[in-house]
């Protein structure tokens, strides 16, 4: 679109009125705004003692967890859909034959590099059995890079830690929601 296109309506800046040119009304207006914010409730929290409020934990994309089925086994069937969907290539799965009769494969090892992860939630979207989910845990820290590569046990322990506060999302897949 060129600047002289007839569809463009050119707007002129409104000229200042006398009250605006006298400066004082605007001065008072500005000062009252700042003074109001000076005493208004604060939006930040004292973090370690006080947790920030997560709006909706069900849609928050925090640390991953691997869900367990009602028998306490890992729900994952090692289909590699999450690893394929992952844009950051941070999921590493080693599949092997399942010891259980209800599925063919299960993950022998399941690693997520939390430092590479971009927390986009594509793995959760891709998973056909709702085995991988993102929790609302937001403070993910570690002292080394190795520590930040979460293996299967660690991801299952995240599930054990969060299952009461955040039930599994899909009821059809055995979740409680």
């Amino acid at each position: 679109m060129k600047p002289n296109d007839p569809a463009i309506t050119w707007l002129e800046e409104r000229p200042l009125g006398l009250t605006e040119r006298l400066y004082l009304p605007l001065f008072v207006q500005g000062l009252t705004t700042t003074a109001r914010h000076l005493v208004s409730p604060k939006v930040t929290v004292s973090y370690p003692e006080q947790r920030p409020k997560v709006g909706n934990p069900l849609i928050y994309r925090g640390v991953h967890r691997l869900n367990r089925d009602p028998e306490g086994r890992v729900k994952c069937v090692a289909c590699f859909l999450c690893a394929t969907a992952c844009p950051a290539h941070c999921i590493d799965i080693v599949a092997t034959e399942s010891p259980w009769p209800d599925r063919e494969k299960y993950p022998e090892s399941f690693q997520i590099d939390e430092l590479r992860c971009i927390f986009c939630g594509m793995c959760e979207e891709a998973c056909p059995v709702d085995a991988i989910e993102l929790t609302s845990l937001l403070d993910l820290t570690g002292k080394s890079r190795e520590e930040m590569i979460f293996d299967k046990e660690k991801l299952l322990s995240v599930y054990d830690m969060t299952k009461d506060a955040e039930p599994m999302k899909s009821a059809a897949m055995g979740g409680t929601l």
Partner: protein, 431 residues
Amino acid sequence: MNALLPSLPTIVALVKIGLLVGGLMTAAAYLVLVERWMAAWVQDRKGPNRVGIPLTKIRLFGLGQPLADGLKIILKEDFTPRHVDKVLYTAAPVVILAASLAIFAAIPFGSSLPAIPALGLTGEEPLLVAPGLDVGVLWVFALSSIAVYGVLLGGWASNNKYGFLGGLRSSAQLVAYEIPLGLGLLGVVLAAGSLKLDTIMDAQASTGVWYAFAQPLGFLVFLVASFAEAARLPFDLPEAEQELVGGYHTEYSGIKLLLFLVAEFLHMVTAAFLIVIMFLGGWHLWGVTGAGPVETWLVAFIRFAVLSAKILGVILFFMLVRWSWPRFRFDQLMNLAWKVMLPLGIANLVTVAAVEEFRPQLVAALGEGWAKTAAIAIPWGVFFVGWIAAGIFTPSGTDNTPIRTHGPLDAEHALGAKHALGGSKRELVEV
């Protein structure tokens, strides 16, 4: 008395210097904390509230923060770039801090103490490092101009374009605003008939009319000019971070930067002192402190407390304004100084001079009480007239309409004719 021992006035002066420098440094450190709190609260944050007593878990609302800040900046690397003029680069922060501290030699930080015969002090002891300095106001303004020198030296010696631009802006701004500052001050000096700051306070205390009420225009001009002199927002162009990185102290780090920052804060404190002493009555407050000699320690303390409270109030105002207004553009800054503040300052000076000159005639014509009222009413009339005139003629305004190379397409434009843009005063420029 032994000739090697310092005399009593010397000891007294040294004690006062110690108290003043120590007090100012502590105050500057804590004012940084207050400024950070204000910044945080205005932005709906909590602000620094963690650091308390070192090595304990006691927090004290973050009152230990200045210590941590100071330690941090002192322990930082004091890096000197290779391309600077080493002598001037090192001298600049020293010059600016020394000048900002020396200003306080002539500024009273209280009224005076009652006589202490036990120490050999028989008369009232004024809370002023250099009592009897008859050119107090001149001293303050001479030294505050030297403080500008530090900024210039720092910006120039840095051999850095940002530093240089910061120094240039600073020099232009401070030269421009020295004039309204001086005009605002002249009205007070004229009315009080003295260049001594303690006499100016006494004059306000004895009449009970602060000069802010007697000379509103002078107060306005002085207030705006002292914001500019202290390089506080909305006049902080010498160190506009968005344009100049750090301005004149871009190349400074570590303790040299600390000296610059402390000096900057002291400029604000000086400005607050001057505003309070010259326009807001100093230690005088109706019904609490009146004129007269200081006989008891209680009176001395109350006067000191009133003065400190007023100064703190002015400093809080400085900080609140910082978050209320955006920075001026440089042409607006200059227009404000030369086209608004200078004429208003002159108008104030003429009014004050006329009122002081014709005061006997006023008293003769109207009687004592009405003459007093008229002496206040006339400057207020000038104040309103001057302000409204400045608003109507807007000499500080600039045309912000964009230069357009294209207007609405119409028949004339289709023919390629050159024509004025409808509604705008600008000529259409064909490209």
